[in-house]
Subunit: 215 residues, 2 copies
Amino acid sequence: MKKTPRSTVKRAPKRGLYDAPSIYEILDRNHICHVGILHEGAPLVIPTLYGRKGNTLYIHGASVSRLITRLEEAIPLSLSVAKTTGLVLARSAFHHSLNYESVVLFGAGRLVPEADKMEALKAVSDHLIPGRWEEVRKPNTKELKATKVIAIPLEEVTAKVRSGGPKDDPADDELALWAGVVPIKEIYEAPIADSTLNKNMELPKSVTNLYNLKS
Amino acid sequence: MKKTPRSTVKRAPKRGLYDAPSIYEILDRNHICHVGILHEGAPLVIPTLYGRKGNTLYIHGASVSRLITRLEEAIPLSLSVAKTTGLVLARSAFHHSLNYESVVLFGAGRLVPEADKMEALKAVSDHLIPGRWEEVRKPNTKELKATKVIAIPLEEVTAKVRSGGPKDDPADDELALWAGVVPIKEIYEAPIADSTLNKNMELPKSVTNLYNLKS
């Protein structure tokens, strides 16, 4: 990835990662990005679902939405993705921390043209629930018209990861205080079938695969 | 909360919540906010830990950090918090969705004065791990100097929540396709003691309480 002054990690620089595989891995494990733009003279940050395919991040939304109509003008944007992966408990308040994985991006979006929209929507679907696209009814003309997709190139992007235990001051080690990590994990719970569903319907492959992925 | 044009939910307006208890609840269940500012002429979004006490959100960081030094100038900011709480599977690709809880804020920060810094840091600590502050060594003069805290009033703030099952087109109900929700939950896994710790040391109350909170 392109390493620029603004995309270079300043605090705890050892935690910065600039290689595409590390960045893709974090993006692929998460669902929501927080997109920041300048809107009517002030910053606006909106959380929204995304998908990744290759070196492109896709955001979709209602054709009339505030965020999407601004992004299609290719205005400058920044976005971030982050997940807490653990609470880090030290012997001093100061050295308490979080374990996390995060990605920060700078760039601009472009409107995906009609001819590529179906593929881009599939990319978002595949990101969220691999294989689901093949199982369901595809978007019709009216639905496609109601939706716009913004493509954002993954160029000026940084990942930052903290893992492992607390880094206490050596002088604090003698304090009789518990220190360590409380790991945080995201799990899928048992699926809840829609109330209108035939009771004997089996779970689709896309759903059973999700549970293998997470466990 | 103050409902302004920019803080009013436009897409799916029924999902918007403007009352303080709903907003506080979501903030209290999450740890990371994504702060957006204008920096050197372009948007910058940075994920960071926060705490809430009363009607104030607190962000802390190294005194020299880019985000903190900008925020103490009371520049306009926006921030968002979001968690995915479920995958919503419909019979059509179009009606797939996420269940989520999110908060979006507009405003500006102010530097917490020295006299109030300790209380503000306690608020961040209490937010993350209630009761931990009382157990550990408090910040000393050097540590306090290395840290700044920014207070952001919770005034122009909106929550948005989606829950429940898919909303399929009635015409799609006859398709023999599974539809429903895959709930997503964040759990604390078994704590990992620091390798330097006395093996017989019991877990502190702050940690055992966390597990009761989450289960």
